[in-house]
Amino acid sequence: MRITIAILALSFAAMPAPAQKKVDPARADTAIKAAFPTAPADWASRLTGDETMQQCSASHNNPAKDVAAAIQKREQGTIVYPPDNNFMGDWQKGERLAQSGYGLRFTDYPPRQANGGNCYACHQLTKNEVSYGTLGPSLSEYGKLRDFKPEAVKAAYEKLYNSHMAFPCSTMPRFGANKILTIEQIKDAVALLMSPESPVNTGK
């Protein structure tokens, strides 16, 4: 017994400093609630992520396999498809919303214009726009690289609506599921990516 304790003590001393102690989720919730006292009542849901976000936060966006599968299934279930199954809108409108970061910030109320998708903040799209971010992959020639296939058009719609159905704990906002963009706007963004006339694909 004594030897065991001695060995335990030794192995303990040899261990590196313990990683950050665990924070009780309720503690974090309380701190966040207190930190945003001016939040309007209908913003309460902004302070606490839903189940998927809680799983992504806890795993630092690297969920275990079974959790990832559960997220994909759950998020797939949120997708609302256009009634006529036409996924492609107007690429010119898509380009405008890709440029715009407007919407849902506390200075954006009452709304003065439609919400933007702010795609260029994170992605390369058209050749002409050189001010693009790199948090997400380049989407240059997105449709061309997929041979403009109808399945790829639908898949683009789904990823824009809720990227977690394809990439669990993706860092991209759930534009459809979180009602950032309307179905019509998502179709416009799909056209920017997938239309053969779109500068994303023509390179002009």
Binding site: Q20, K21, K22, V23, R27, A28, A31, I32, A34, A35, F36, P37, T38, A39, P40, W43, R46, L47, T48, G49, M53, C56, S57, H60, N61, L104, R105, F106, T107, Y120, A121, C122, N128, E129, V130, S131, Y132, G133, T134, L135, T171, P173, R174, N178, K179, I180
Partner: protein
């Protein structure tokens, strides 16, 4: 001094004059680098020093119902000790029984020494674009500049401080709001950018220690000094969250975590940001 400011203005106009649609990454970077080089040649040309000077004057100015100055304010090294105090913050203060960053401590001193309400101050604690940094921000710029050249050496080992760092780390990865953003969305990888703006990798010590010590900083796009509390509010604004309350436990926890990440990083206040 005056000449440097004029030269700065000219250099900046040159940067601003490049039409965005035709801006080339390299060209823009080059112009900004030229601007920074001019500042390095004459560090006193950073407009943030005007606010540090204003903060120094405010530190000794009597105000409030108690007609007192900040001179008895204890920033952790004893009443009135300013030199090197910022390098050891945030820390636990027994008199307030909480962990405080510099701005939160100044808010506390203002209330206890001068009798001016902290609750009133935090209703509008930060300047609008083009307006000078407010009173506590100016004093924070002064105090922090008195640790310039030193390394961050906050202990952060008392139980309350460890607790704050752990909470800050949790909040750094916490995703919420309509965009599902966390601090980690933009600051958990190296070498990435939003549009053309480079993003520091704050989840890693090497990059965090390079940038955290630059705040409060003169932010050229806002034409004023921005403090760390203000910078965090600005991040949460972009994350589509409500207004982060200055001095809240969450704000102090995030600053404690970032300071821990920046351990041994050099302090260079006021910094200069795009």
């Amino acid at each position: 001094m005056k000449r440097s400011l004029v030269m700065l203005a000219v250099a900046f106009a040159a940067v601003a004059a490049i039409p965005r649609a035709h801006a080339q990454d390299a060209e823009t970077e080059k112009a900004i680098e030229k601007y920074r080089a001019m500042l390095r040649e004459d560090p006193w040309s950073n407009p943030g020093y005007l606010d540090a000077d204003r903060g120094e004057a405010l530190w000794t100015t009597r105000a409030g119902p108690k007609n007192a100055s900040f001179e008895q304010c204890d920033l952790g090294k004893g009443p009135g000790k300013v030199d090197g105090a910022f390098a050891e913050l945030p820390r636990y203060f027994a008199d307030a029984d909480r962990v405080m960053d510099l701005e939160t401590r100044l808010l506390w001193c203002r209330e206890t020494l001068q009798g001016l309400s902290a609750a009133d101050y935090v209703k509008r604690p930060h300047p609008a674009g083009g307006q000078p940094v407010k009173e506590i921000g100016a004093i924070a710029t002064y105090v922090a500049s008195k640790s310039s050249g030193q390394k961050f050496a906050a202990r952060l080992d008392r139980p309350q401080e460890q607790d704050a760092v752990a909470l800050g780390e949790t909040l750094f990865y916490r995703r919420s709001g309509p965009f599902d953003f966390a601090c980690a969305t933009c600051h958990a990888q190296s070498g990435l950018r939003i549009r053309l703006q480079g993003l520091p990798y704050l989840a890693e010590k090497k990059e965090a220690s390079k940038v955290i010590g630059e705040w409060p900083a003169y932010r050229v796009s806002n034409t004023h000094v921005m403090t760390m509390q203000h910078r965090l509010l600005d991040c949460y604004w972009q994350m589509r969250m409500p207004e982060l309350q200055m001095g809240s436990d969450a704000s102090v926890a995030l600053i404690a975590f970032l300071t821990k990440q920046a351990e041994d990083g050099e302090i260079a206040v006021p910094g200069l940001k795009r």
